[in-house]
Subunit: 210 residues, 2 copies
């Protein structure tokens, strides 16, 4: 299982400072949607230039103009971009088309999809590289939020998936045993007192599991 750090900061400088501490411990660097909207796609270009050996994940959360937005993300240097699973099939197909042209990955973000099993069946035919089972930050703040439900969907997904939505050192073993190919940690790393130590601890825990 790979480790992805989601960076929900708001400036390129802060993202680069954080990455100086944590990049060595992760496989995938995710630049969050608010960061991209605030800074523009130049943040992707700058992070990829600073960490060319890492996979850079642009969390575009594309809802329309799939081919165009994927093309912009890949041209900026992203290795992976996200399209919303709740977008029209034609939007997802457009993003996948751009992904094939660039030889890069397109991930369908399942945030906000209510009937996840039904949408997963449809997504298999649309050619996305994997799906992200994702409890959003707003969703996590709700009392009824269930991390376990994400893992439940993953166990029967029948296609490669990542998990995001409150992963920390206590939850990482469950994510691995559910069969995820990537675990996404955000606040557990960027919000830690010592982000480098937090990323390293997650990485070592994953190694023990493997």
């Amino acid at each position: 299982m790979k480790l992805q750090v989601a960076i929900d900061l708001l400036s390129t400088a802060d993202a680069l400072t954080l990455l100086n501490k944590v990049a060595q411990h992760v496989d995938v660097i995710e630049l969050g949607t608010p960061l991209i909207k605030q800074q523009g796609l130049s943040v992707v270009t700058n992070v990829k230039a600073a960490h060319p050996g890492k996979l850079v994940f642009a969390d575009m959360k594309t809802m329309d103009t799939g081919e165009l937005e994927a093309d912009l993300a890949f041209k900026a240097g992203a290795d992976i971009m996200t399209v919303l699973a709740s977008a029209a099939d034609s939007t997802i197909a457009g993003a996948v088309k751009a992904g094939k042209m660039h030889g890069k990955a397109v991930v369908a973000d399942m945030i906000g999809v209510s009937d996840k099993a039904a949408r997963l069946r449809e997504l298999k035919g649309l050619g996305v590289t994997w799906v992200e089972l994702h409890g959003g930050l707003d969703e996590q703040a709700q009392a009824r939020y269930s991390f376990e439900n994400l893992l439940e969907v993953g166990r029967s997904a029948g296609m490669p998936f990542s998990v995001a939505g409150g992963i920390n050192i206590d939850r990482i073993a469950g994510v691995e045993s559910a069969g995820a190919t990537i675990a996404v940690a955000g606040a557990a790393i960027y919000g830690a007192k010592d982000p480098g130590a937090a990323a390293k601890a997650l990485r070592e825990k994953i190694k023990q599991l493997g």
Copy 2:
């Protein structure tokens, strides 16, 4: 009925050049999602500085972190921002909270919502300023796309709404008679040979209708 121009260009310079020709004929200037992702929110700040007398609409299409993304858009100078109607209720409520704090408008973009009548009933309780009945660019490219369906939803919306999704000089009368408070024109203006003349013609047609 107000006229909104949606700018789906990719550079701040191109947006400003277009606006020199069309701003005088419109009430609301919309900066499209791909433009914001490409340039960052500085495009909102630059356009508002160039056209302080116009309402600037940041098409954020927010799916998570509603309060944060709305706050970023308003701080950048937007008068109006969009949250996806398909986002979690807590995301929409967060955006509305930021809107109230700034005294600005939050619009729920209905793109991709399948049961529009049911979602409209829920949106009324969430405090959005209006809803945008929106056929996306990818959706418009599909053979089964129906502009008339958007107007049908509008007629029974029971709350203020705008319409976007292929509005041109031939469709504008239908939009007005359906009861829309704002008509959004994109390609009919920015894709026209003479964008200034196209915007002016739409404005004059609306005046005749009124």
